[in-house]
Amino acid sequence: MISISMDLQLALAVLLFLIGLIGLLVRRNVVFMLMSIEIMLNSAGLAFIIAGSHWIQTDGQVMFIFILAVAAAEVSVGLALILQMHHHFRTLDVDALNKLRK
């Protein structure tokens, strides 16, 4: 088994998180934004797994399953919102949704 140093593992998690974050910031399409959030959640889960395997603790995997459950719930709610959005505004552009302002 090839052992990879923890720094590299964590760097992967951070990379994933940044990809998600930048995606969230730059994409205007809500669907892509939701996907970016999923990437960020998974990067957090990855960090938990890395920590759990490093200290040989099961807590990391427990937390990952927990995050998966949350992510699933979040996706279902998010998709429902996107459907409603498409239904009401006929667009998926998030910048068009600044109607709260006035």
Binding site: L21, L24, L25, R28, V94, D95, L97, N98, K99, L100, R101
Partner: protein, 626 residues
């Protein structure tokens, strides 16, 4: 003691309450009855208590005191509502209730046509009640309560005819100018509380000489501050400017408040706290000097006035100057005696003058009057007696005995000197001159305005009683070479210390002769100038100096330029209130922050995420540094 002395001030206050609550509904006669009777009973009780006091308590040097209730007690300082009657307050009580009663009686007719009839009697009774509290108070705090209450009544009654703005200005002036003195006085009271933790007058008078050395700075400060209060109330230099304007009130008000009683509250205060003044000899000398200066300033001003009531007002200032002179040279009893006699003849002069003004259709200018001697014989006769007493015509008038005593002591007492005596004697000459100028202008010569109706009995009776008192009042302190009688000073001898003489009193008759001649000379000059009308009179009155005297030595002008104008100027500059700039600026700044934060609320979701991210990054960076 059968009757509590608290009844004396309580009765007029009760009349005040009745008139305030039911004044509108009461019939005119009932209003007048309420207004007069309560004070009359009060006067009667004062006389009864006074006789009992003089016959049984005074010989042992005692007093009648009565603690009504405790006002408050805080931090070891206790203030009681307690009254205390001794010979000094008895004299004042007698003058306040008895002269007050006569003036109220007079007002029943004098104010008959006025729409504020019940209001007038309500204020007058409130005044009499407050003044009685002032002189009966056992401690300086209660005295101060009465002091302020009489100031309030003075304000209300000067502005009694409130529809004329001139009267309101006069009322404001009186109130504000006396307030300057009152402020000094309350600071003085604080100083006393700070040092002795009590305001009880008797305790103060016994403790002060023990704690304070004679002439120590703190004793001087206390005496000066109390003197400030007395100067404001008694219209003495430099706070004398309010009294001539106070003549805007009805004549009975001028007689009661601005001649007989309230303006002498300062004299009472100084006599009451005489120990404090004896501890500060410098201040006591100052009292004498202020008295001498005031009596001259006011005397010369009285000489040039045209308005009958203003002449009397300046005369009042001048006569109170004599009282201050007496207090200053340590002639305590002479000062109080002059207060009593002055109350009689000056109330008489104001009432008689008021009758003249009332019956001559509100004409105040003495140059437009004349020849009233035959038309109003009773008013003329009583006015003549009052003027004679004011000018201290020898032997027959009460004013002679009281004023002559002051003149004699101003020369012979340990505090006196020749200069004070010269000021007094010049003042006496001027007094005789202006008094008889008044008589000759108003009652002699040809009649110019005819009275609307003869004076009624309610006007005449008080005048006659006061005229009798202005004559016989002096005989209780008879001091001619042929015989001495010292009823009045023996009455006060237990309360006030005797005058210390440094000169042989064998020369007293000589001084009496000098002052008699001086006052007769004044009358003769007045006869020459104003009845014979020698050309000199015309010439003198055209002099610039006469105008200067007429304007009260320019004090009003000076105060106007030194204080009022700069203040108004500052107020005008500060019309927009510069503190507002700060408050408004604060509001502007908050609004600015609000607007700039508001622009971040742009509804763009991605912008929010960005802000959150940057925020988190910053916070994390900061936390990692630690």
């Amino acid at each position: 003691m059968a009757v509590n002395i608290g009844v004396i001030p309580a009765l007029p206050l009760l009349a005040f309450i009745i008139l305030v609550l039911f004044g509108g509904q009461l019939k005119k006669k009932l209003t007048a009855l309420t207004g007069v009777v309560f004070t009359a009973i009060s006067a009667l009780i004062t006389i009864i208590i006074g006789i009992q006091y003089i016959s049984t308590i005074l010989p042992s040097g005692g007093n009648i005191s009565s603690k009504l209730w405790q006002w408050f007690s805080a931090g070891g300082f206790v203030a009681d509502v307690a009254l205390r009657l001794d010979a000094l307050s008895l004299v004042f009580c007698f003058v306040i209730t008895f002269v007050g009663f006569l003036i109220l009686l007079y007002s029943v007719e004098f104010m008959a046509g006025d729409e504020g009839y019940s209001r007038f009697f309500a204020y007058m009774n409130l005044f009499i009640g407050s003044m009685l509290i002032l002189v009966l108070a056992d401690n300086l705090l209660l005295l101060y309560l009465g002091w302020e209450a009489v100031g309030l009544c003075s304000y209300l009654l000067i502005g009694f005819w409130y529809r004329d703005p001139v009267n309101i200005t006069a009322a404001n002036k009186a109130f504000i100018v006396t307030r300057i003195g009152d402020t000094a006085m309350i600071i003085g009271l604080f100083l006393l509380v700070f040092n002795f933790n009590t305001l009880n007058i008797q305790e103060l008078l016994t403790k002060a000489p023990i704690k304070w050395a004679q002439g120590s700075p703190v004793a001087i400060a206390a005496a000066l501050l109390l003197l400030g209060g007395a100067l404001g109330k008694s219209a003495q230099f430099p706070l004398q400017t309010w009294l001539p304007d106070a003549m805007a009130g009805p004549s009975p008000v001028s007689a009661l408040i601005h001649a007989a009683t309230m303006v002498t509250a300062g004299v009472y205060l100084i006599a009451r706290t005489h120990v404090l003044f004896e501890l500060a000899p410098m201040v006591q000398t100052l009292v004498a000097v202020i008295g001498a200066v005031t009596l001259l300033i006011a005397g010369f001003s009285a000489l040039t006035q045209h308005d009958l009531k203003r002449i009397l007002a300046y005369s009042t200032i001048s006569q109170i100057g004599y009282m201050f002179l007496a207090l200053g040279v340590g002639a305590w009893q002479a000062g109080i005696f002059h207060f009593m006699i002055h109350a009689f003849f000056k109330a008489l002069l104001f009432l008689a003058g008021g009758a003249v003004i009332l019956l001559l259709h509100e004409e105040h200018d003495i140059f437009k009057m004349g020849g009233l001697k035959r038309i109003m014989p009773v008013v003329f006769f009583t006015f003549f007696v009052g003027s004679a007493s004011l000018s201290a015509l020898p032997i027959v008038t009460a004013g002679f005995y009281s004023k002559d005593a002051i003149l004699w002591y101003s020369f012979s007492s340990s505090n006196g000197n020749t200069w004070l005596w010269v000021a007094g004697i010049v003042g006496a000459f001027i007094t005789a001159l202006y008094s008889f100028r008044l008589i000759f202008m108003v009652f002699y010569g040809e009649a110019k305005i005819l009275p609307s109706r003869p004076a009624g009995n309610l006007i005449k009776v008080p005048l006659i009683i006061l005229a009798i008192l202005s004559v016989i009042g002096g005989f209780i302190e008879f001091s001619l070479p042929v015989g001495h009688l010292h009823l009045f000073s023996s009455l006060l001898s237990k309360i006030l210390p005797p005058t210390i003489l440094i000169r042989d009193d064998s020369s007293e008759p000589l001084f009496q002769i000098i002052s008699s001649i001086i006052s007769l000379l004044g009358v003769y000059l007045a006869y020459l100038l104003f009845l014979k009308k020698i050309p000199l009179a015309e010439k003198l009155s055209n002099e610039k100096i006469a105008g200067f005297f007429y304007r009260g030595w320019g004090f009003d002008w000076f105060y106007d330029h030194a204080f009022t104008k700069p203040y108004v100027w500052l107020a005008k500059i500060n019309k927009n209130d510069f503190t507002d700039y700060f408050n408004k600026g604060l509001a502007q700044l908050t609004l600015l922050f609000n607007r700039s934060l508001g622009t971040t609320q742009n509804g763009k979701l991605r912008f929010y995420i960005m802000a959150i991210t940057i925020g988190i990054a910053l916070i994390l960076t900061y936390m990692m540094q630690i």
